[in-house]
Amino acid sequence: MSSIRWKVTFIITRQRSKSKCYQQPFLLEVDPDEYILDCIERIWAFHDRSLTFRHACHHSTCGACGMRVNGVEKLTCITAIRSVTQDGGTVHIEPLRNFPVLSDLVVDMSTFFLRLEQVNAATVLPLQEACLPGEIKDQPVIESGQYERLVDCIECGLCISACPTALTSSSYQGPATLAAIQQGCQPGNQPFQILLADHEDGVWRCHSAYECSAVCPSNVDPAARIMNLRRRILTQHIRSLFSRQPEEAKNE
């Protein structure tokens, strides 16, 4: 932390369920290296105790503090003031898009969590299966033991908020869910979840805006995973055109 102090106006979108939203300004003296979430907490503690927002870990692990900062989806616990404004500037804080607002900055993410549950989104996978984008999928298994890696998605919902397709379609599975299906789908193995991806509300609805990958704070790169899943599904369809169906083979 530095000894420099900035005067920054935080304009927070306030809304109670089903009531009209409005914007409320709060002038704060801040350290430019502070994080947005610290300032929101300060507003709650010293200016307005009725302000509601979600937060937990303060180190980008829980994914609870996702909000829009100056229009862009951010995890507020790792977004420094100096990265979004300057001395005398303003910071607009809004709830995530494409989720119903429960109160102020808190949105209802239950449908999103249910979708992840529905596709059995893993939290931990063997190392050779939980490869990062760009890594080789079939890494050799180390003989001394099976290593596991935490799956990167922290279920913050920023990708859904940024996605232009999710803006107009509530039935779209969404980037995080499709990335989870891709991650759980091994070469040669086609789990039932792939049916949810190979669907008009699955990978084929994505319009290649790549906003999900741009805002993802956790290196999941959902857009690349969606495109990879598309290629796999398409390859599978093309192969099935040239291979005999089991029923036909049985009848011969």
């Binding site: 107009t168 805006a209 741009a214 690349a224 495109m227």
Partner: protein, 128 residues
Amino acid sequence: MSNRPSPLHFWRWFDPRARQVGTWAFIINRITALGLTAYLFIHLIVLGQLALGPQYYDQFIAFAKLPVVKIGELAVLAAGIIHALNGIRVALTGLGFAVRWQKHMLYSLMCLAALGIFVVFVKLFLLD
């Protein structure tokens, strides 16, 4: 303004504020597609007029030489070039090829489009 997804929010697709390069390409592709579709209908109506007789044809040729129509032609060709080149990028990345280079591909293809539009401009306004 409702925060829930709705087809009525489609107009927000065209808001480029706080959006990334991928969305700019997404917006450009939609605007050029709408423009080209509108042009197709205008084109068909004009062709229908030409079939009415030689005097209509001569009138049309005189009209087509007006600078404002030439600017329109340039806009149509520019939209076609941009839409086609961006379409190549969308088709490639949409099937999982070069997804990580989608931004670079967009910049390169739009440079190519600018060059193509410049050639069309020279042909329409300087050489004709």
